[in-house]
């Protein structure tokens, strides 16, 4: 029997469902657009897309994005540990000693730093690192990325640690664990999934950071520099530069680079979700 209540119920569910799908449409649109455009380019270039340097603007060869690919991973993987370690230490300290003045200062600093525009951070690093070094460098990029990621990582880790129910801390104390053992053997392991997710997010954001690298890494595309004091390139920078040129070849390469970035994201997310076991409370 179809009472008006049932009809209202069904309508509401349909409404929610369609709004949810609607909100996912832009995401899928982006992903499909990148996939479609990017695949064409990579198919044309083959594996050399990952090993060659970018071509001249009017060449027939597609070339590759090797410097940017290397540079992105290089800077991100160097800045990640720095960020994670600092943020983890800070969040452990502020969780264990919430009323300590240093903890409160860290909290305030973190919020302030988070609200500074990334381009401003880039400029500051330019003045303090690039200028004294007399040149762009991967190191400057690492410093800029770390500064930008720190507040976010700190908040994520603090939330993770605070999300562990107090009863487990009490249990740890009750069997004679001291503060640090409790953090190491109970709080961190119980919140490991959230922490790893936090690290992932930091990694993803860092890989996609553009403004931070504008005035720091130097856009060196001629080859691959392993020295941290030498300039290098990054995928978002390459995309930004190439897509704004009038050259069709460069624009295609930009799409290809975008697809590579997307694929890297997906690969990282999926593999870590699978590898880190959930802790069921």
């Amino acid at each position: 029997m179809y009472s008006s209540r049932r009809i209202k119920d069904r309508l509401f569910i349909a409404f929610i469902a369609s709004v949810s799908i609607l909100s996912l449409v832009p995401l899928f649109h982006i992903m499909i657009a990148i996939a479609v455009n990017g695949v064409q380019v990579i198919a044309k270039a083959g594996l050399r897309f990952f090993t060659d340097t970018p071509p001249a603007p009017l060449s027939r060869d597609v070339g590759g994005i090797a410097p940017a690919l290397f540079g992105s991973f290089y800077i991100t993987l160097v800045s990640l540990p720095i960020t994670v370690v600092l943020a983890l230490l800070a969040s452990i300290l502020s969780t264990e000693f919430p009323s300590n003045i240093i903890s409160r200062a860290v909290d305030v600093l973190s919020r302030s730093l988070a609200s500074v525009p990334t381009i401003v951070v880039s400029m500051v690093v330019y003045t303090t690192v690039v200028v004294p070094m007399r040149g762009f460098s991967a190191l400057a990029g690492v410093i800029a990325l770390s500064l930008i990621s720190l507040p976010y990582a700190y908040t994520a880790f603090s939330t993770a640690l605070r999300s562990v129910p107090q009863i487990y801390r009490e249990a740890a104390y009750s069997i004679g664990m001291d503060r640090w053992r409790t953090v190491r053997r109970v709080l961190l392991p119980v919140s490991r999934r959230i922490i790893v997710t936090g690290i992932l997010m930091v990694f993803a954001r860092a890989m996609g950071e553009t403004a931070a690298l504008l005035f720091t890494v130097g856009r060196y595309r001629m080859g691959i520099n392993i020295d941290i004091r030498a300039p290098t390139d990054a995928i978002p920078l390459l995309i930004f530069d190439f897509i704004t040129t009038p050259f069709k070849l460069y624009q295609e390469i930009a799409w290809g680079a975008a697809l590579v970035l997307l694929a890297a994201y997906l690969a990282i997310f999926v593999s870590v979700k699978v590898a880190v076991k959930e802790v069921r409370l």
């Binding site: 009490e170 249990a171 740890a172 104390y173 009750s174 069997i175 004679g176 001291d178 503060r179 490991r192």
Partner: protein
């Protein structure tokens, strides 16, 4: 060291509020002493003061004297003090990221009770048997606690507390969140531990107190109303509040 626990003129203030009012209480060795009273009377707070878990509460001020196994509690290092005091909480809290075996073993290993794999196996088995859980988990020691029922989790917590061979065991309403059958099993396990450990248990049920207690303290609104041997208090209460509590009226 005449008593396992001696409390003298204990006063506790939290944020200025007077929570425990001039508490004096003595607990003999190898007895089950029950602190009973209506909800909110301060019994859990009193228990947590004994093993300094009250330190986790900000703005807590304590005056008076507490001695556990001859040591002054308020001036001791709480982390070292807690190695001799086991505790079981109201909400079962086995470590979710450790297996059933590891939950019990870590307690023993941390406190130097056992080191080698063989020793640990023995202690784990002993503790689980004492907690009356061994038969139910003997073939799934490498599984995780979330698979257990509430009552089983609580017995696991008891085993974990026992594995460090404490001299004093504090139980904070251990059966509050468990079904009645498991509650009785847990009570039986507790009573059987008397020979090896001194036990202080908190409950709001006069009947549970009557079932397990050798001696009792009745707390109401932060005051001690009456205390003494169970036989005396349960048959011949001298205070009208006590009689009311026994009838279930407060």
């Amino acid at each position: 060291m005449m008593y396992a626990v001696e409390i003298e003129n204990l006063n506790l203030y939290i944020d200025g509020r007077h929570i425990l009012k001039n508490i004096s209480m003595n607990v003999s060795y190898n007895t089950i002493h029950v602190i009973m009273g209506p909800s909110g009377s301060g019994k859990t707070t009193l228990l947590r003061t004994i093993n300094r878990l009250i330190d986790l509460v900000p703005n807590a001020r304590i005056t008076g004297r507490i001695a556990v196994l001859g040591r002054d509690v308020l001036s001791s290092d709480p982390y070292i003090l807690r190695r001799d005091i086991g505790m079981v909480f109201q909400i079962p809290n086995p470590f979710p990221h450790m297996t059933i075996y590891e939950n019990v073993a870590i307690s023993a290993r941390l406190n130097g009770i056992a080191r080698s794999r063989r020793e640990l196996d023995e202690v784990v088995r002993w503790a689980l048997e004492k907690a009356m859980l061994w038969e139910e988990v003997r073939d799934r020691l490498n599984k995780y606690p979330h698979e257990l029922s509430g009552g089983q989790k609580q017995r696991l917590c008891l085993a974990r507390a026992l594995a460090m061979k404490p001299k004093l065991l504090l139980l904070d309403e251990p059966t509050a969140n468990i079904d009645p059958i498991n509650a009785r099993r847990l009570e039986d396990a507790i009573v059987s531990l008397k020979d090896e450990v001194t036990i202080i248990m908190v409950t709001h049920s006069p009947h549970q107190a009557a079932r397990v207690a050798d001696s009792v303290t009745l707390i109401y609104d932060g005051y001690i109303i009456e205390q003494g041997p169970a036989q005396v208090v349960f048959l011949h209460p001298s205070n009208e509040y006590t009689a009311k509590f026994l009838r279930g009226e407060i």
